[in-house]
Amino acid sequence: MASRSRKDTKLSSDPAQIKATFEKLRDPAIAEYLAWRVPLRPRIDVAIDTSSLASGAIATQAAIERIASERNAAVDLGRNHGYGMQWLQPLVTITWPDGTSVIYGPVTADDAAVIVDEATGRESAASALAIGVLAGERVGVSSIRDHPFFSEEPAERRLTARIGLTDPELIEHYIGSGGWAAFARVLYREMQPAGVRQELISGSHGGRGGGGFPAGVKWNFLAGAPDPERYMICNADEGDPGAWVNRVVMEGDPHLLIEGVTLGGFATSAQRGFIYIREEYPLAVERVEQAIRQAEEAGLLGDNILGSDFSFQLEVVKGAGSYVCGEETGLISSIQGQRGQPRIRPPFPAAVGVFMKPSNVSNVESCAHVPLVMQHGHEWYREYGTEAMVGTRLYSFSGDIPYTGFMELPFGAPMKELLDSCGGITHGAELKTIHSGGPLGSLVPASALPTLILENSSFAPYDAIMGSGGIVWVSDRTHLVIINEFLSAFVEEESCGRCTTCHGGNQRMTEIFRRIMDGRGRREDAFNLKLIDDVLQQSNCVHGQFSPKPMRNLLQYFREDFDTLALERRDPTLTIPAMTTFQVANPADLKIEDAAAICPTGAFRGREGFRTIDDAACIRCGACAEVAPGAIVREAKQLAPAPVA
């Protein structure tokens, strides 16, 4: 890698020339994008993203293609990214020659014919599938902005403004819709790196990784490093189960991220950048790598960008399934080709980072907001959010709700209303806890809901963190310790192994949870868990330090549930195997034979009409009760309570 040292001073190239070079790139892109937005004939775009694929978007696409070609229909086919209503995937958007776009879903392969009908002019052929108008107007369909799922979103999307309205795989759509303009302007207006950083500081642009530390200030650290060889790194190792907001940026608008990281490179005078993407996001890897190639071909990455003095090389490093690489020093180790083990800080990456050179590690969304701040200015950026946390951010919602998906929300959005947007709690159950911040995060009690808002300081009094965008609504239908065991086993498995406090502590915590779930809770368990908490906090990185948080929340807010399970060895939710049994309630039910046939352990005994379930062979998977509901029931199993000392 040949790296040139650059000073934090002026550019030698001609601004007018840079501007002209960019306009030569931009003008045909605008024409191409307009032709796509306002097409000559109707176009059907199938959302292609990780979520739509899991719902069968490929089959939908193939069916639409087949029917359109069979009928020789006057339609074109295209692609976009899903708008956010993931429970309605596969999503399909039809755009008519007047520029009106309507989103439909769920569109399965069987619906292909009505979609083609609708596109080619048979009004209301697919009206049952219409979700909302994305652009323009259509009789009988309301704006997608009025959809109840998005009621807490601002009037206009910002970070996700292009989602649904571009093909994320085409750089022309990005440039044609205003992309790269912010960066080009920084170059041709001869803005200095310090000016970019100042704009971010003026906008109080906080990092989106979880901590909320001001991005501009963090970039100042790197800009001030003595060594001119330095690196801008984007952390796309989004590993918290239940959080997928970075995935949306990378799959939905990858060019925005690339422009943001490049601006980061400029603002810190870095010559080279890395985007470290988790292995579990193959489509994000594909799209970001493709976007980098397209930007290189357009002269927006590489040597002398747009003919300026600024050069920036950017590449993707793909992770390999290690959660702890999301910690910045673990990530740096991984890029260097080492085990992804975090190291002790200081020195901080701004002093000693990748290849021992000054580096900055910033979250995907922290970077992706930067072109917006630079394009619209810090005052525009400050229009949303709270005093403490400015702007908007992506959130993903899942769990015991009917409406799973993502939203772009201003900081400070009220959680109670957000639960309504998500359709409330399913199965007629009650909200038990809000799981935020992933395995190193929190279990916020439901009692917090009325006053809880999306801001770090609102979560803090509950010994909780808001985290990096993943919110999981958990009902009282499942015993909370099932979640605690999952989180605990996760942090144990993902510990890098350096600190005994962490790998040993999390191992012990997991063992205790598993023993309790096995009906062998002990009086001293709560005490020992608190002891483990103290020990874990002595770990070197946040993986160990924060790993006891969900357990602490459990003991603080759900002590009764814990004690009932650990001491009385009872599970009122009937979801913990050792404390429940499956019983044949009605041996005469005709479905019992099907139930016996599905049992994976052959636990049914006796002859037809007289079946019983062998409790020792039963693994409580519940398959039999699914086949013969009512005839087979799950009941509480009486265990002796924990002995007193």
């Binding site: 694929l53 899991a54 239940g242 193959p282 769990g399 998906g405 999952f486 994976p600 998977c621």
Partner: protein, 175 residues
């Protein structure tokens, strides 16, 4: 220097453009795994030579990451999603049912005939499909996402895979 076999030359060609000390180890390991389904001992040695590292260092790094395979993959991998949304929908029961169907004791094991393995999978944010699994054919570089499982549908699927029947559940997704 040992004699250059054809196989070794092929391995070498796969990583010939990568430079030492340039952040290329993760990518080199991915390339080998993508091409051969796993990273053989010989592949580790070739990478070490190319990137000017000790083989022990390359092995140490490779073995740290869950997703690098150091032995040949089975025909079929069942990747069980362990995420929170799935846990709220009886994912544990489904996991145990599939393990029992395949006569496996725990995640990470393979069936006696070596054809099928079941492993722990990480949430990728398709939680509207919870509870889910991914069925993968590593050598064909193919994966299907199978969502909205029940214990019954998971057992039927596992039986079909076990009995070598054709498999059409779920949806094709990126591998």
């Amino acid at each position: 220097m040992p004699l250059e076999t054809e196989a070794r030359a092929e391995l070498r060609a796969l990583v010939a453009d990568l430079e030492p000390n340039d952040g290329k180890l993760m990518g080199a390991l991915h390339r080998m795994q993508h091409r051969y389904g796993y990273i053989s001992r010989e592949a580790l040695e070739v990478i070490a030579e190319q990137l000017d590292m000790f083989p022990a260092h390359v092995y140490g790094a490779a073995s740290f990451y869950d997703e690098y395979r150091l032995e040949a993959p089975p025909e079929t991998t069942i990747r069980w999603c362990s995420g929170p949304a799935c846990r709220l929908e009886n994912a544990n029961g489904i996991r145990d049912a599939v393990l029992a169907t395949l006569d496996l004791k725990e995640l990470g094991e393979r069936t006696d005939d070596g054809r099928i393995e079941m492993v722990n999978g990480q949430c990728n944010g398709t939680c509207e499909q919870a509870p889910m699994m991914w069925i993968e054919w590593p050598m064909e570089r193919r994966r299907r996402a199978v969502g909205k499982l029940t214990a019954v549908s998971a057992i039927r699927m596992a039986r079909a895979i076990r009995d070598g029947e054709s498999f059409t559940e779920g949806h094709e997704t990126v591998f």
